[in-house]
Symmetry: C2
Subunit: 402 residues, 2 copies
DNA sequence: GGTATTTCGTCATGGCCGTTGACAAATTAG
DNA sequence: CTAATTTGTCAACGGCCATGACGAAATACC
């Protein structure tokens, strides 16, 4: 929401159009007067903004609302469920997925495909993804939806603001420009780290702690590539100077401990990474043998698996203590595939956090709350789609161009 | 602050006035045309903005600039060195300081007073500080300067957006509202953690790495209360949800190590905190025996002191590795009193960072640069004064009110 | 030296945009 | 049924920036 200052009046107009759209996206159906009250403009001004958006087909009017309150009831406004939509795509280690979301945030089409993308050829993978995109958008078109932007979630590092994947170790991709291999008729293409998108999905879903004052901030842990964390600060993603922020997996947990592939020693990843935990649980990591298998053993109550997860949780808690002391987030969220392990992971994590973050919580008895994301593995895909939707709502000028 | 801005165009005007002021504050003397080019408005628009600021006495015209370039030379504009000014104050453990800064960023008056503020009475300390403020602003008045805001640096935690010191262990203050004990005729009062202000001073001083692209981001380490770090992300201070961000001192360095007063074990502070380092160097911590004494022994080449600092540096490097992996800052700055130890502290810190942050630097051979702040112990005071100046430049409407 | 060129600052004009104040419409309270 | 309240719209207004032209003041070139 933090947009650049308006410097010309047309920019101000764009920003106000966008504010109307976002207000309706957040607050469900509202009358013109209610929108005006929320964004601090007069009813007359909002009327002209709404007229423009209605003419452009971005809003629809519902019948007069039965409010029960005194006074003339307002006509309820709603974002359209036709017209522009956002497209999200996810490139996972063992699957591809596409999701079409309308401006209201409803998922309208979803296509999934199981594959093995480890050490794969980007051209082949993106050709498959493109055909899935074609199928999904064709189906969306029958519902009157027209793509206004595409966001792709990737398990790797993406250069800030570019569409090039710098490194995706699990895919074996290096310096691959995805925009060149994807359709260009779906609107602007954005490529983003999947952990970041998972965190944004969490932020935008709104089903967590109410924003007491000011925007939200949290640490969102996932474990697709090693152990990644996405940091949301004041409602915005913290990407870092080079786009590499959130490398929780290489926080030193035991400075003289096990050597890590990164060259350091005792990184969190050597204790709580997928491979380390699977081995500790007596499982041989391999294709198909991933966190899901471990969760199954925990559910079965197998002691080796439980001990392995507990130890991983302790290490994760130590690393998260560092993050909490540094960042003072409102909460910590365990998302992605790790969310399945939450029942066994949260207790040791919470224990370490309680021990080690008393200063950062101001000595109060309540440590940072740690929760599991209800979105779980769907986070990155939904975050990608919603990111495309929000980008469209941010630029109403583009959408009104017809 | 969440005031419903009913007049969105006058808000735009205020912003543009502010942009003119900030452009001149950053870029030295500039002509109207140069300002227009920088902020993206037309010369005509900037002319009216500048007229208003000239009439309000915030700008002055210099004679036509001798540029040597073809074309009519522009009349150079400059912020005034009279009229409104910012006042900064610092409450240290063993000193008080006040600084008056004009809109150009020049320090015009500075008053320092040595005291012992450990476990002191806030009322007495602030009475003394008030008399210093009176003296400084009286002297500033003879130069035509009129205070437009006061920012106070304190070695403790301040609630976000309030003027109340939650906890300042070294001062022995708890829940003290400073605004009630300070003069109210110096403009709005702001209270801020001194580590944060030191970092902002560093950010605004501009004498570090050139901003290659986008705003700056760095981790700024100081050591007044334990070990504090201030985090600057995208040119803004990261304060945390409760205002407690930057507690570097309690990052776990050796999770089963020495017990810490915070209740945790192996916190950085137990290895690199002032008290721990002094003891390791064979010094008995006490009033007057602080980091300065240690630096003197290092300069003398005393082996025990050198070893103590080297070990502290290693611990600091481990903790900073965590911070760098999480935040991906452009650089790390050692500031405050710690800057005096830089010659002996930087090598071990750099060594640990190089070992442990290869992932966060994208595998490139150049790790995050670590530098010592050239401001050193002056950072917090200068940051406080400049923060007051910038707040004034942000609200030109207030300054033009006469 | 003189003219052309370039750049600066200003002016009048115009368009855009949100505000103000008033009014009809639609509903509830009594 | 009347009064009160709220909604949505309209016309007039004022503020603000863009546009395009102009004179002013310097340099570049002949």
């Amino acid at each position: 929401m933090a947009q650049p200052a308006p410097q010309s009046q047309s920019e101000m107009r764009q920003r106000n159009l966008s504010r109307v759209l976002h207000t309706l996206a957040d607050g469900g159906p509202l009358s013109r007067a209610a929108v005006a009250a929320r964004i601090g403009l007069t009813r007359a001004a909002v009327s002209t903004l709404v007229d423009e958006l209605l003419r452009g087909g971005l809003l629809v009017e519902q019948g007069p609302g039965r409010s029960g309150a005194v006074g003339r009831p307002g006509t309820q406004l709603l974002l359209t469920d036709r017209g522009p939509c956002g497209v999200g795509a996810e490139i996972g280690v063992d699957h591809l997925a596409v999701c079409v979301m309308d401006l209201r945030g409803e998922t309208r089409v979803r296509v999934t495909h199981e594959t093995r993308n480890q050490h794969s050829d980007p051209t082949a993978v993106l050709a498959l993804l493109t055909s899935m995109l074609r199928r999904a958008t064709a189906e969306a078109a029958t519902a009157g939806l027209r793509p206004a932007g595409l966001t792709v979630a990737v398990p790797g590092l993406v250069n800030r603001g570019s569409t090039t994947v710098l490194r995706a170790p699990n895919l074996g991709w290096h310096g691959t420009d995805l925009a060149a291999l994807l359709p260009d008729d779906l609107g602007p293409v954005t490529v983003e780290n999947e952990a970041n998108l998972g965190a944004l999905a969490e932020l935008w879903s709104g089903h967590h702690a109410p924003p007491l004052s000011g925007p939200d901030s949290f640490v969102h842990v996932s474990a697709e590539i090693g152990i990644g964390a996405a940091l949301v600060v004041d409602g915005e993603l913290l990407r870092g100077a080079h786009g590499f922020a959130g490398e929780l997996g290489h926080l030193p947990v035991r400075p003289d401990g096990r050597p890590c592939s990164c060259g350091g020693r005792g990184c969190l990843e050597t204790y709580a990474g997928e491979e380390a935990v699977l081995r500790a649980a007596g499982l041989e990591p391999g294709p198909g043998v991933r966190i899901g298998a471990l969760a199954a053993r925990c559910e079965a109550g197998e002691p080796t698996a439980l001990r392995a997860v507990r130890q991983a949780g302790t290490a994760l808690g130590i690393a998260l203590s560092g993050a909490v002391n540094l960042l003072d987030p409102r909460q910590v969220v365990i998302g992605g595939a790790l969310a399945r392990l939450a029942p066994w992971l949260l207790p040791p994590v919470g224990r370490e956090l309680a021990r080690r973050t008393s200063v950062a919580t101001g000595g109060r008895s309540t440590p940072v709350p740690v929760t599991a994301s209800p979105l779980g593995p769907d986070g990155p895909l939904l975050g990608a789609a919603r990111s495309a939707v929000r980008a469209a709502l941010d630029a109403p000028g583009e959408l009104l161009r017809d």
